[in-house]
């Protein structure tokens, strides 16, 4: 169903609600959606004067010309889609979606199911785990500029993964979710909700991808991470949407006492892709790592807005966003560190590094600090530079031809993050994705 005003049309929402209801969604869930829709309709589209949208191209931020992804069956056969979703072989479970429809649900291995780990498609979790969903589903609005789109997500999302790891359980293989699209103009709302209870340990990977590289889509994904006391959570996403797509990926992270969260977003897709990430340090001794690697090519725009909030002290947040820019690409990084009064002995770092590989590429950095405590270590820094001539000369002096040397240096630019990933299979996947952009 394609309508005049696209995703803002009432009939879009009505159709979605009807289909949710028909598939057995409970009334409380439908109510949540109705409220989100109401708020979505009330909120204005982003405007030029909004500080949160500084430097962003607003011309392409539109809702028209899209239809709901699951409004008709996918064209590419299930088998083919599943074959393309095999790149992480060592895994504890897998979910595969295409155009927001569930294609495959690989249950979590018996070993962890017995220990109470829940790994389900969101729609099923909504029916079976009301308490957890009501408590955590979009409970942390991130407010970095995309509130309207976040509400739209709340109203229209149905596809996604739900992961709950109970107290003390360690899942040592990653859970993997794939979100594909094979249809032009499809709008997708992938959701990821990860809840790790006290001392739990888990890794979740999301792959976002269009079968056709030139695909035009609207995507608004939300991923929320919750790490209870002492929990260790690793979240990795790889975004490779079609190059005519408008994509939002909105993340909120909550780290409680002594929790350790690493989140890494690798971005190569979209025409215009915006990431918003709010990391909340809610307990003493917590540690969050926020990492991002982007390869921006052509006329792509990557817009990254981050917030690190420390509510409790003796905690660490460490942000590292690295962008390699080619052609006429643009990146925007805007980050803020906020340390509340009680959060003494906080270490908070924020670094944005841009490697400019073309004279017409453009990187923008807006780092910021807001510190109310007096005993803290905070730093923020942004650099933009080209390939280092001395490094290049050194490599060439060993007989390495210039193009190969440059490539090694560019790949090396991402290695300080990729090289530290515990899971080598995932790291290799991400390397492949990055390398395929050159």
């Amino acid at each position: 169903m394609k309508t005049a005003n696209g995703l803002a049309d009432q009939e879009i929402f009505d159709a979605h609600l009807a289909s949710q209801s028909a598939s057995g969604a409970p009334e409380w869930w439908l109510d949540l959606k109705r409220e989100s829709w109401r708020r979505f309709r009330k909120l204005p589209m982003p405007m030029r004067k909004d500080e949160n949208w500084r430097f962003a191209s607003l011309g392409g931020v539109k809702l028209d010309g899209y239809e709901l992804g699951d409004s008709s069956p996918p064209e590419i056969a299930d088998k083919e889609v599943l074959k393309r979703s095999e790149n992480v072989r060592q895994r504890a479970g897998r979910l595969v979606f295409s155009n927001d429809r569930l294609m495959d649900s690989e249950a979590i291995s018996e070993e962890w199911a017995k220990k109470g780990v829940i790994w389900l498609p969101l729609e099923q979790a909504v029916r079976e785990h009301e308490d957890l969903l009501r408590k955590h589903f979009m409970a942390q609005p991130i407010k970095l500029g995309s509130e309207k789109f976040s509400e739209l997500h709340g109203a229209l999302c149905s596809a996604g993964s739900f992961l709950y790891v109970p107290k003390g359980v360690e899942v040592d293989l990653p859970l993997v979710a794939f979100h594909w699209t094979d249809r032009n103009n499809a709008a997708l709302f992938p959701h990821t909700l990860l809840i790790a209870d006290d001392m739990a340990k888990v890794t979740l990977v999301d792959f976002f991808s269009a079968h056709d590289r030139s695909s035009r889509n609207f995507i608004c994904g939300v991923n929320d991470l919750y790490a209870g006391p002492g929990a260790r959570v690793t979240y990795i996403s790889a975004q490779d949407w079609g190059r005519d797509s408008l994509a939002f990926h909105l993340n909120s992270t909550q780290a409680f006492k002594d929790a350790f969260i690493t989140s890494l977003n690798v971005n190569v897709g979209g025409r215009q892709a915006r990431n918003e990430s709010h990391s909340q340090v809610l307990g003493e001794g917590a540690h969050t790592q926020m990492q991002s690697l982007t390869v921006a090519t052509g006329k792509q725009e990557f817009d990254q807005r981050t917030l690190q909030t420390h509510f409790k002290g003796r905690s660490v947040s460490d942000l590292l966003y690295k962008n390699a820019l080619l052609d006429d690409a643009r990146t925007i990084f805007s980050g803020l560190i906020k340390v509340e009064e009680d959060a003494q002995q906080t270490d908070a770092y924020q670094t944005n590094r841009n490697l400019l590989l073309s004279p017409t590429a453009e990187s923008n950095s807006l780092p910021g600090l807001e510190i109310l405590a007096n005993d803290v270590k905070c730093s923020h820094g942004a650099t933009s530079g080209q390939i280092d001539d001395e490094q290049l000369h050194y490599m060439r002096a060993r007989g390495i031809p210039e193009p190969v040397a440059k490539q090694l240096l560019v790949f090396g630019f991402f290695e300080d993050i990729l090289g530290k990933l515990e899971n080598e299979e995932i790291a290799e996947n991400l390397r492949t994705l990055i390398r395929s952009q050159f």
Binding site: D388, D389, E390, Q391, H393, Y394, M395, R396, A397, R398, G399, I400, P401, E402, V404, A405, L408, L409, F411, G412, F413, F414, E415, D416, G419
Partner: protein, 256 residues
């Protein structure tokens, strides 16, 4: 074809200042020649100009590697032709491991379409690392990142050992090394010494020449080789210092 590195009447300018003035020197393969001289006399300029650093402009002269003029070649072509430069200050390259770096360098020396034998590569790499007392864990470390001065220099020798150059220019490899590191580095160089390799050892101090005994010693002053001799010349310099050289070979204008 003569197997030698022949530097003929080389003049080099850095930012409008002429540093090397009509310098000539021949290094036959199989020999070790030391170049000594006071600071600021152009020793490192010679090394950098030979390696093809873009900041060093060659205004006249030629450099023949086994009869072929390398000044016509790009930096990487010179290296593949058999010239190696051990840097005085090797670059740190985050994110590029020693293994990947050396693989790329070895691969670049193969014919197009030919693939490097990975097993053989690692076998050789480990042998050379053992020889230079470099922990095998270093293979996955980023090049020179966080290395001590001694580790950086050993890494230079490791690269030299892996790339088996015809001619190696060692630019103050001894600087910043303590006695143990100096011994290890020298042992490494001595093992690479042989009929297939000519070594040009640039140094300010005689100390390294106790470990790597040169066949010839050249003294450089004011952009030229002003004196050449056997290994005893190094000892003479050590005893007498550089002042007598400065006096003897002062600028012609001052002399007149």
């Amino acid at each position: 074809m003569s197997k030698q590195l022949e530097i003929k009447n080389l003049s080099v300018t850095v930012e409008t200042t002429e540093i090397l003035k009509d310098l000539s020197l021949t290094l036959p393969r199989g020999e070790v020649h030391a170049i000594m001289g006071p600071n600021g006399t152009g020793k490192s300029t010679l090394a950098k100009a030979l390696a093809g650093h873009p900041d060093y402009e060659i205004t006249s002269g030629e450099v023949l590697l086994d009869g072929e003029n390398i000044l016509e070649m790009e930096v990487d072509e010179r290296a593949r032709a058999g010239l190696f430069m051990a840097f005085q200050y090797p670059s740190e390259i985050p994110g590029v491991s020693i293994a990947n770096f050396l693989r790329a360098a070895k691969q670049a020396r193969l014919a197009e379409g030919e693939d490097l034998d990975a097993t053989g590569f690692y076998k050789t790499l480990y042998e050379k690392m053992d020889m230079l007392h470099i922990d095998r864990k270093f293979t996955s470390r980023a090049i020179n990142e966080g290395f001590s001065g001694g580790e950086k220099k050993r890494n230079e020798i490791l690269q030299m050992a892996m790339l088996e150059p015809k001619y190696a220019i060692m630019d103050e490899t001894d600087s910043g090394l303590d006695i143990d590191a100096l011994r290890i580095v020298s042992e490494g160089v001595n093992k690479l010494r042989g009929p297939e390799c000519g070594i040009l050892l640039i140094t300010h101090y005689q100390r390294i020449l106790e470990y790597i005994v040169p066949d010839h010693v050249h003294v450089m002053w004011n952009g030229r080789i002003v004196k050449s001799g056997g290994k005893d010349l190094a000892i003479e310099l050590e005893n007498k210092g550089y002042d007598w050289i400065k006096e003897e070979f002062a600028e012609p204008a001052a002399k007149a």
